[in-house]
């Protein structure tokens, strides 16, 4: 590194207060990652019947914790840290009021702690509290009120965070009235606009229906309505997880490769497309729901297929930018340039492997999105196989890889060991390749997702692509490698935090090859894009929601609540599960109708 770079300040040097928020957010994310990984390994070994250390009835508490801690706390805390860095860095000015920034951090941390307690309390009979409703919390399964309250507080925290970044941008705009929105800030603002639209539905669902219902203020809810409102939020949330990865792929990866982003305008087009198309597609999670007309499902599918476009464009731009970097480093030939890339750098290799997995996840996603092909794999373990490639690798591995690059910038501490980092990201890739491939294959055999014991008394799975048992072993080995990889990542980070501070770690991000001056001005018109996004949402959802309310009533068609937190049930079911080997149906009939017990 030259002397000029030695003297350059890092993000921490320039914005010490913001750097602290970024570090706190990342550490919260990684704490959640640790918990999620612990629950993940117990779950993998339980499902595959390698080691069952908990009763099967507690599996669902574990699964709820795995889902919520990883896809809510880990991903979103990383996002708010990364976005705080990206906005501050690209606007090159501190946030307006750091107290507001700490306020949203506190809201998010407090909220997720409440939700976490309500879930984890399910492991003990001492506290009459549980939230084993899984990440999707479909009514009439009912969690303890604290679960819903915590989620609400957490989401309000993210809203304040978005407002904080919009405010920083507005302040910047007053000082720079004629300038284009810097690319990273543009990415943050479009993503947050999408988030506000998406979370409006889940906020409505929780505040109007689920929370009052869990408190006993209303007797019943409409299961199809709350489910539809969940998926109104549930699909865009996957892009909320993905956009931080995209931000890193677009703005950081090309730099690490030795080059620069290929096209700034196309990056903006891609983020605008996500803002427009992420939300009016949620019904594709409900292809097999009764009570929703086929036409609505078809519209949702068409939108979903067009949502492939921004990701396909991204594949092109990212590969082109990396190739440009390789050629800058002296790479030649049709594919020979690949050898010139910095494969020993864990940040680079991690992000590239994450991108490769995302391509595979994209293809299994096309199967999911195909309305009538979906029959074959709906609610089978194929689906978690798919999203462990997307959120579980494209997003999670990019976040870990990005940390190797970003952590020194926000702490002035060099990474403890790059070789361990490299080993860790490759291990993740191998573990996920094994686990996800076997999950897809089991899904085609008809093995369901979300179950403690996928083996049944009355039938056996046929074998293809290796039998059920062999695929289970692949899943268990893959899951174990992923757990080891997570521990290596966290260990490396903890040791990094013990390193002394040094100078000379500053990295700058070069502007794009084709800069913002090539982008039509209209791309920066956020008001226009938000308006179009809202119109598309209304077009996609007004009629289905009206039809659902018309059919089942606003407050539901006479369905009772099924709280999951009444403790005697769990004991009773443990007993029932113990005699599973015998005739299951008779056992349950003999022990009395369980529905009565649950009430």
């Amino acid at each position: 590194m030259s002397a000029a770079i030695e003297s350059e300040p890092t993000f921490l040097d320039k914005f010490p207060q913001e750097a602290r928020v970024v570090r706190a957010s990342f550490l919260s994310a990684f704490f959640a990652l640790f918990l999620g990984a612990v629950f993940g390994i117990i779950q993998t070994l339980h499902r595959t019947d390698i080691a069952r250390v908990i009763p099967s009835t507690d599996y669902y508490t574990l699964l709820t914790a795995h889902g919520v801690f990883l896809v809510i706390s880990f991903t979103v805390f990383f996002l708010v840290g990364l976005f705080t860095w990206a906005v501050t860095r690209s606007l090159d000015r501190p946030l307006v009021n750091i107290k507001i920034t700490w306020t949203w951090y506190a809201l998010m941390a407090g909220g997720i702690t409440m939700t976490g307690i309500s879930i984890l309390a399910g492991f003990t009979d001492a506290i009459d509290m549980s939230a084993a409703v899984l990440f999707t919390f479909y009514a009439p399964l009912q969690a303890h009120p604290l679960f819903y309250v915590g989620l609400t507080v957490f989401i309000i925290g993210t809203w304040v965070a978005g407002a904080d970044w919009f405010r920083a941008w507005l302040a910047w705009k007053r000082d720079n009235p004629d300038e284009r929105i810097p690319l990273q800030t543009f990415m943050v603002l479009t993503t947050m606009a999408m988030w506000y639209i998406a979370t409006s539905a889940i906020a409505a669902s929780v505040l109007i229906f689920l929370l009052p219902w869990s408190l006993g203020l209303i007797d019943q809810v409409n299961p199809t309505l709350t489910r539809t409102l969940f998926w109104f939020f549930g699909h865009p949330v996957v892009y909320f997880w993905l956009m931080p990865a995209y931000l890193l792929w677009y703005t950081v990866l090309p730099k690490i490769a030795g080059g620069r982003l290929f096209s700034d305008p196309l990056a903006r087009v891609v983020f605008v497309l996500f803002l427009l198309l992420s939300t009016p597609v949620g019904i594709h999670h409900q292809y097999l729901d009764p009570g929703i007309a086929e036409g609505f499902k078809f519209i949702s599918m068409t939108n979903t297929m067009f949502l492939l476009l921004p990701s396909l464009l991204t594949a092109f731009t990212v590969v082109a930018s990396v190739e440009y970097g390789a050629r800058q480093r002296g790479g030649t030939g049709l594919l020979g340039w690949l050898t010139e890339l910095p494969w020993r750098n864990p940040a680079f290799t991690g992000m590239m492997l994450a991108g490769l997995m995302f391509a595979a996840g994209g293809f299994s996603g096309m199967v999911n999105a195909g309305m009538n092909i979906n029959y074959m794999i709906h609610n089978t373990i194929w689906v978690p196989g798919h999203f462990h490639l997307t959120v579980g690798t494209a997003v999670a591995l990019t976040m870990m890889a990005g940390t190797y690059w970003l952590w020194p910038q926000i702490s002035n501490k060099p990474i403890y060991s790059n070789p361990i980092g490299l080993f860790q990201v490759v291990l993740w890739f191998i573990g996920m390749a094994l686990m996800s491939n076997a999950m897809h294959a089991q899904g085609i055999l008809g093995v369901p997702r979300r179950t403690a014991e996928p083996e049944y008394a009355g039938f056996e799975y046929a074998s293809s692509f290796g039998g059920f048992g062999e695929l289970n072993i692949q899943i268990a080995i893959g899951g174990t490698l992923l757990f080891v990889s997570t521990i290596l990542f966290l260990g490396n980070l903890v040791l990094t935090m013990g390193n002394p501070k040094v100078s000379g770690l500053a990295e700058t991000l070069p502007p794009a090859l084709s800069g913002p001056e090539d982008a039509p001005q209209v791309l920066d018109n956020l008001r226009l894009w938000v308006t179009i996004a809202l119109v598309l949402v209304v077009l996609a959802y007004a009629l289905p929601i009206a039809a659902i309310i018309n059919r089942g009533g606003l407050l539901g068609p006479g369905v009772e609540a099924f709280p999951v937190w009444l403790t005697p049930t769990s004991q009773l079911l443990t007993d029932a599960a113990a005699v599973l080997v015998g005739n299951v149906v008779e056992t349950i009939t003999a022990s009395g109708p369980l529905t009565e017990v649950l009430r």
């Binding site: 009835t57 507690d58 699964l63 084993a132 479909y138 009439p140 409409n222 299961p223 199809t224 290929f262 096209s263 305008p265 409900q286 292809y287 097999l288 009764p290 009570g291 086929e294 599918m301 068409t302 297929m305 067009f306 492939l308 476009l309 092109f316 082109a320 096309m366 999105a369 195909g370 309305m371 009538n372 029959y375 074959m376 709906h378 609610n379 055999l445 369901p448 997702r449 979300r450 179950t451 403690a452 049944y456 009355g458 039938f459 084709s514 982008a519 059919r551 539901g556 068609p557 006479g558 009772e560 099924f562 049930t569 029932a576 599960a577 149906v585 349950i588 369980l594 529905t595 649950l598």
Partner: protein, 171 residues
Amino acid sequence: MHIHAYEKLWLAASIVLILLLIGSVTYGAVGPGVAMVADSEPPIDAGALDEDDRFAEPRVEQVGENEYEVYVVAYQYGFDPDPIVVPEDSTVTFYVTAEDVIHGFQIVETNANTMVVPGEVAEITVEVDEPSEYGIVCNEYCGPGHHVMEGTLEVVSQSEYEERIEGGDDA
């Protein structure tokens, strides 16, 4: 806005892929006739299934020469009737509803698969061919005993089917 020639090509290829995917699903709907579970059945009172013509007594019913209807109730944690017995080479329409929470109904290793939502009736029609036994699983988490919720579909020969009806089997 400057777009590289290769990128234009890629963009065009992407749009072709998207149209092909939409086309293949459309073909599946109009060609082989794969219909989606939809709103064909009116909503139902989940709390009063015992007063309903079809679901008070979940059963298999012959409605045409080779046509059968099956009324299934999913509950924590099982399906009624169980087993479901139908004759070979027939067209079977399942009407599935739930009396408590959301369940799933999947005939393992086939594409007969639907969500089962209390208050709604899912309708799926399948063709069964030669005699065989299939597992049925609930593939939507429905409570702490979810993993014990299963059933069986027995496709039997015409003669066995008649025997079983006469024998007073619950089919």
